[in-house]
Every structure is written in C-alpha cells, then in structure tokens.
C-alpha cells in the first residue's frame, strides 16, 4: 500500500477540517477503498477514519419515513426491524450483495460511493479514462460482459456495481451531506452521474463533502409486493450482470395503482425510467403491460459485443421481477 497519514476525528466538524487537506479521503468500512489502495488505483495521502464519530450510525424514524445513518453497516440496515417491515425491497437488495463478512463492515455511505468493478479500472497496467482521464477505454472493444448498455459515452461504459443503490433509487431516497460551508440534500436520481466527458467523476458529491445520512420517504404501499431479481454468473456472492428492484401498489381488482422499477448492472448509475412506470398505472398487472414497460426502459440500449445479451436479459428480468412482485404477498412467510 502507498503510505498515508491516518486520523480519527471525534466529530463531523473535525472530520471536515481534516478532509480539507489535499489528497485526504474519508474511510468508513474500508471494504472498497482499501481494496483500491492495495491495487494502486486510489492513492490518498491521508485517510480520515470517520467510524468514531458518534451519531452517524443510527437508523431511526424520520417524520413519516426513515433515516439511515451513513455509518450504519449494510447488515444492520438490512436486518433492522423497521427496514424489514417497511422497506423489504431495500433489505432484499442489500442481502443480495457481497458476503456476510463484508456486509458487517460495509456502510451505507460507503456503499453509495463504491467504484466500478470494470476490470481495466482495477488494472493499473491498462489505460482507463475513469482512472486516468484521457488514456482511453479498452473496455469498449474488450472485456465488457459486465458493463453498461444504457447511458454510456464514448469515454466510458462502466456500471455502478451497488445492489443497495438500486433499491434506494426505486424508493426515492435522498442523500444528505455536510461540507465546511453547510449542508445540502441530493435526490437519489441526481447523486450518481453518467460518464459523459468526465467519467472519472462518479457522483455529484463534491470533494470535502461528507455523507451524513440517507432518508427514505414513507413507502409502505410498496412493502407488500416487491422483488429484487439479481442475475449473476453464480447463484451467490457475485456482482450483478443485471438486477431489478421492482415494487407494485395494486388495487383490489389487480390493476396497478403505482409501480417502481430500477435497474442495476446496466449503467453508470441505477437506471429508472419514470415514464415506463406510468405506462403501467391503471392497467391490469400482467405480462403484456410488464413487457411494454420493459421495452420502454431499455429504449436506446446498446451493447458492446460481449454484453449484447444484457438487453434481452434485462427485459426478461424486469418482467420476472414484476411477475414475482405480484405474487409476493402470497409467498410471505413461506421459506425462500
């Protein structure tokens, strides 16, 4: 590992002061940052360990919704009684990611800012516009089985690898951050960004800003019929090729009152097309409507060779997730 200074500030203000130093980065669970430092992909000159800061790990009711501390562990979030009861889609997405050991360390804030798993990004011996702006993108004509089919740019076709973020996007979360000059809130849709001409910038978080917590609005109407489908190369402990967070609010006669659909593994950010959800509203929850929504979500998708299969795969996964969501109520309590 490249050497770095190490500090453990006691509160957010002290952390923000420490983060003002050039090359300083916060470290939370460390499960992504240390991995990248070991590979030489990230080379911070100082690590600011935010774990000792009191109050950032809490999970609590917040008005009609829920507040998830940035330092709450992924496992504690997924198994939290309020999350299980009111946001089971989020619990399912978190539990589909990583391993129990990693989820015990990984934090909610860190999960949002984990970096792409594109193999060229990880390999400092190869060019990569995200790691070294202007060096090129070997993935477009190379190993792109895992990579994006939507929202790509000529500069980068990386995906955001998180499972948790797919559910947070579907559930309309908000990210709350603090900087030396105040606080601000970022709607989840605006938190991650598309690669464009600056693929080295993953999110709209500014240098020196710290995520303090994430809030979720009341989403209890989506707590009955939901599904997180994760398609991957092996059954467990692998990143998604394509994932779908789906939730439905159904009327008694089976028509859709409201739908939420977000995709992982297909773009630089969790992918959601609200227009496709509106296509479902007022219609019977069934295959025809689901297929039309899937078509709309994948509009404009393009493959790069090895990942061409993801386009039909994503459509099928959307239909599957929505179909399963319709039945989720009946499956409740049954072992799965």
């Amino acid at each position: 590992m490249n050497p770095f200074d190490f500090q453990q500030p006691a509160d957010v203000d002290a952390a923000l002061a420490a983060l003002a130093a050039p090359g300083a980065r916060p470290i939370a669970g460390g499960t992504n940052l240390l991995d990248l430092i070991k590979e030489g992909v990230m080379k911070p000159s100082g690590l600011v360990d935010i774990n000792p800061i009191a109050g950032l790990a809490a999970i609590a009711e917040d008005g009609t919704g829920l507040r998830l501390g940035a330092l709450a562990r992924n496992a504690d979030t997924a198994y939290h009684p309020l999350v299980r009861e009111r946001y089971p889609l989020l619990a399912a997405a978190i539990l589909a990611g990583a391993s129990p050991q990693l989820r015990n360390m990984a934090t909610n804030g860190g999960n949002l800012l984990q970096r792409t798993r594109c193999v060229y990004f990880y390999d400092v011996g190869t060019p990569c516009n995200k790691r070294g702006p202007g060096t090129g993108c070997p993935a477009k004509a190379g190993l792109n089985r895992q990579l994006a089919i939507l929202g790509t740019s000529p500069q980068c076709i990386a995906t955001h690898p998180s499972d948790m973020c797919v559910a947070l996007r579907a559930l309309d979360a908000t990210v709350h951050v603090r900087a030396a000059n105040g606080e601000r809130s970022i709607p989840f849709a605006d938190f991650h960004r598309l690669p464009g001409d600056t693929p080295d910038v993953d999110s709209t978080l500014q240098p020196g800003e710290l995520i303090t917590h994430i809030t979720l609005p009341d989403a209890r109407r989506f707590a009955q019929r939901f599904e997180y489908v994760k398609v991957r190369d092996r059954l467990s402990y692998a990143f998604a090729l394509v994932s779908v967070a789906a939730a439905l609010d159904l009327a008694a006669d089976g028509t859709v009152r409201a739908a939420r659909i977000a995709l992982g593994g297909v773009a630089h950010k969790p992918w959601r097309v609200e227009e496709a959800e509106e296509l479902l509203t007022g219609r019977p929850a069934g295959e025809t409507a689901f297929e039309q929504a899937a078509e709309r979500i994948l509009r404009g998708a393009r493959g790069y060779g090895q990942n061409d299969f993801k386009i039909p795969l994503a459509k099928n996964a959307i239909v599957q997730a929505l179909t399963n969501a319709v039945q989720k109520n009946e499956l409740r309590g049954a072992p799965r």
Binding site: P3, I27, L34, L47, D49, N51, Y79, S99, P100, P335
Partner: protein, 159 residues
Amino acid sequence: MDAYRQYPIRLRINGEDRAFAVESTVTLLDLLRERAGLTGTKKGCDHGQCGACTVLLDGRRINACLTLAVMQNGHEVTTIEGLADGDTLHPLQQAFIDHDAFQCGYCTPGQICSAAGLVAEGQAKTVDDVRELMSGNVCRCGAYPQIAQAVCDVMEIEK
C-alpha cells in the same frame, strides 16, 4: 507526511490485552499474523473475496484483510486460536472434525470463525440459509457439503 510514522494501538485479542505500534498501512490480518504471532488466520486473496481471513471483531465476523489495524484500536478480536476453551474444542471445531469438513484445512479457520459469526447472528433457519450465509468463505478443496452439515448440526437445523 511521515511514511514510517508508528501509531500506538491496543487491542484485546482472544481475551488478552495487547499493545502494538503499527504503520497506518498495516491491515488487521497482517497484524494478527506477523506481529501478534497468530497465524491461524489465513491470507488467501487479501481482497475480501475468499473469507480465509475471517475473524470476529467485537463478536461479528469480518474480513481482516480489508480493515486497518489502526482503525481497530480499542476493539476486541477473536481468532481461531481464541475459540476453544482450554483443551475443550469449540462445538464448531468439534463438528468440523466429526463431519470431515476439511481436506487441506487452509480455509478452515476462516470457515469456523465465519460459522461462529453466523450462529451469533441468528438469521439462518434452513440449510439453504446456512449455505447462503457461508458464501463469503471459499474452499478450494470443495468441502462445502460437510461444512454445511457441521454448521447445521451445531445449530440443530434439519438437513
């Protein structure tokens, strides 16, 4: 920045208070193996992918390769060496022997620490849950069926 700065830390390892001075870059895994003399915890991938380095941190299973020793100052670590009660093996250690749940044994300390964490978490109700919740531990010898049996036995889960 002084690359060789030493950070004084204290850890409670397997019930014993110990003091070290470490560079910022030392992982908990390297501290355990190279400075604390506890080589039961194995280094496999060093990237969080195999589970060989699994230990219990404040009672919870984690990958020791992906955390810094300085970050764990003041915390409590239990390694495979700390599970037995004197000469009496931990029930999971005994179950692994009874079920022939290892071949070369390289992954075994991590498997057993992970299983101890799994039992404490109390989330597994079925053998499929056990398999899923042991998925962070990779065994190149393929001892998985026996490992799942050993863990289920200790948890009294029907197989």
